[in-house]
């Protein structure tokens, strides 16, 4: 029988994978994917907990997150394309113009 804790373990694993991606990746596009993974890890946790408590609020929230993530991806990818056109690269080690 698959219970709540299994879902939460999967969610935590996905979140950690996403976090590692955010920390280790140097390519901005990959960073973007990693954040999506983290968002969806949270979605799994939301849906599982919502089911466990028989409360639909969590699932509604998961839908919200999907919708907002979609629009964020649209804006974010747009910015990435512009950035790539401008700099010719999406490598973070080369994009250090804000150095203090």
């Amino acid at each position: 029988m698959i219970g709540l804790s299994h879902y939460l373990v999967v969610s935590a694993l996905l979140f950690s994978i996403g976090l590692m991606g955010v920390l280790r990746r140097r390519n901005l596009l990959m960073l973007f994917f990693a954040t999506e993974v983290m968002l969806n890890a949270v979605n799994i946790a939301f849906a599982a907990i919502s089911h466990f408590y028989n409360d639909l609020t969590g699932q509604m929230f998961a839908f919200f997150i999907i919708a907002i993530a979609a629009s964020e991806v649209a804006v974010g990818l747009g910015i990435l394309i512009v950035l790539y056109k401008k700099q010719g690269s999406l490598d973070l080690d080369e994009l250090t113009t804000m150095k203090g």
Binding site: L31, M98, K99, G100
Partner: protein, 631 residues
Amino acid sequence: MENLVYIALFAPLVSSLFAGLFGMSPRQTFVGIVSSALLFVSMSASLMLAYHVYQTGAPIYVTMKEWISMGDLFIPFGFVVDQVSVTMMGVVTVVSTVVHVYSIGYMDHDKSFNRFFSYLSAFVFSMMVLVMSDNFAGLFIGWEGVGVCSWLLIGFWYHKPDQSREENPSISPSWAANEAFIVNRIADLGMLVGIFILYWNVGSLQYSEVFAALPQLSEIILTTAALALFIGAMGKSAQFPLHTWLTDAMEGPTPVSALIHAATMVTAGVFLVIRANPLFSMTPEVSFFIAALGTFVAFFAASMALVNRDLKRIIAFSTLSQLGYMFAAAGLGAYWIALFHLGAHAFFKALLFLGAGNVMHAMHDELDIFKMGGLKKQMKWTYIYMGLASLALAGIPPLAGFFSKDAIIETAFNEGTLILWIMLVVTAGMTAFYSFRQVFLTFHGDERYKAFGIHPHEMYKFVLVALSPLAILAAIAGFFQGGFHDFVTRLLPEYQMSEHTHHLALVLGAIVLTFAVGGIALAYKKYANGLKRDEKTENGFLYKLLANQYYIPHLYEEIISKPYAMISDLMWKSVDLKIVDATVDGIAKFLYKSGDGTRKMQTGNLSNYLNWMAIGGIVLLVIAMLSAMLG
């Protein structure tokens, strides 16, 4: 009548502000003339008020506005014109008008001419506030106001450098100004304590309410309050041991010495004792202390004047001595006699000082009387004025000083305090001697100034004319003794000589007169025919002791100034630099260092930032977990 009060009070303020407008511009004679005219207006108003109070006998109370009104505390800007304050107003405005006119001539060559008039009028305004206020708070404002103006005026020539003198370690106008101000601060603390004690126990600062409530207070409170107030009076009137500032204040311009350090400000202490006479008559021990101290100072100051060579300092010591006389009278309960001597003294002492100013002007600021002599040929009018003032000071009838001083000495006899009486009589002889030593050395004998290439000349005509009111008053003021007595004793306690003293009055007067004439005769014999230096006496112990002012300035330097400087130095180097500054600098250094250290975090690399963010998140998470686990 109310308008007259305001005119008398505020005309000097207007004059000060007007002159202040031109304070930075070069010398303009009209500033002096306008100032003098405004002072004349103030004088006229004061004299009209005096006449009114004399006619009706009723004091005028004016409340200009509320000043402090909260809870139980109520202090208005109130003024009272009664017999005592109107006498002071008359004396102050008459002397200051003369001094203003005199200053037009005296300060003729000074480039800060306009500034001088601004300060001088501001002083008169403060003095008027002091004498006219109907409560202790107003008195204190005036008290501090005259202190500030005195500081400004003593230090008027602040650019003069420090000089070392035998009797004083270091002296310059700015040094003397600071000394006067600091010594007065010490005394003002006593005065403030006295005012606080009265307020604490009475709940009001109005004279009328305070004096009405005095009988309900315990003896210890009365004594403490009286003593504390008298300490304030000691500072302003330069009584021992706070007397050193007065002679050093002679560094200021001579009109200032005449107005502030002879005729008006220094008598404020006597005025305070007279004004608070209900308090002092209820504390006989304090009153006797005042009388004893006054007598001591009269003698002490006169002894220092005997050997001094500085024209202005001799007169300053004489002022000190005469203030002692006033305190002696006030302490013995003869308040009206003290006030009478105050007025008479103001006239002849101002005249004496202004005469000395003429001499200084003629001698190009030379003050050593050993370098003068034979000036009467060149300066006939100054000679007459100074001679007249010296005669009045020595107490020769029928001049003012005879009546007032004789009355004080008679009071000392009447009270049965024979020691005081003897000291005052001897002091009268000494007064006559030093006054005429000065007159003879300055105006008679061989013309010693020629050796120094000085060509003396008489003062301007208008200055000499302006001095005439003082000369007339110094000559005739004594004749008003009876009328003055009837006038002021409506407010002040009556003081009459006993039957016994009355019978002996002639004998007593004759004794005093003998001493005075004896002093003059001795001075004539020793000095009238030129200066004969007596090396043996001058090197003697007593002469040195007196010439060095009993070594008191040295003593103060050694036991107060130097230890204070040492402590300050120590505190500066160990506490200020090592603790206070180090703490403040440490905070600044920490901020700089931490900024320098953390600046390296800002690499511009988004990946690094995200790492830092994750570390921060983990730290927060750990803290949250720990706090949840611990409780």
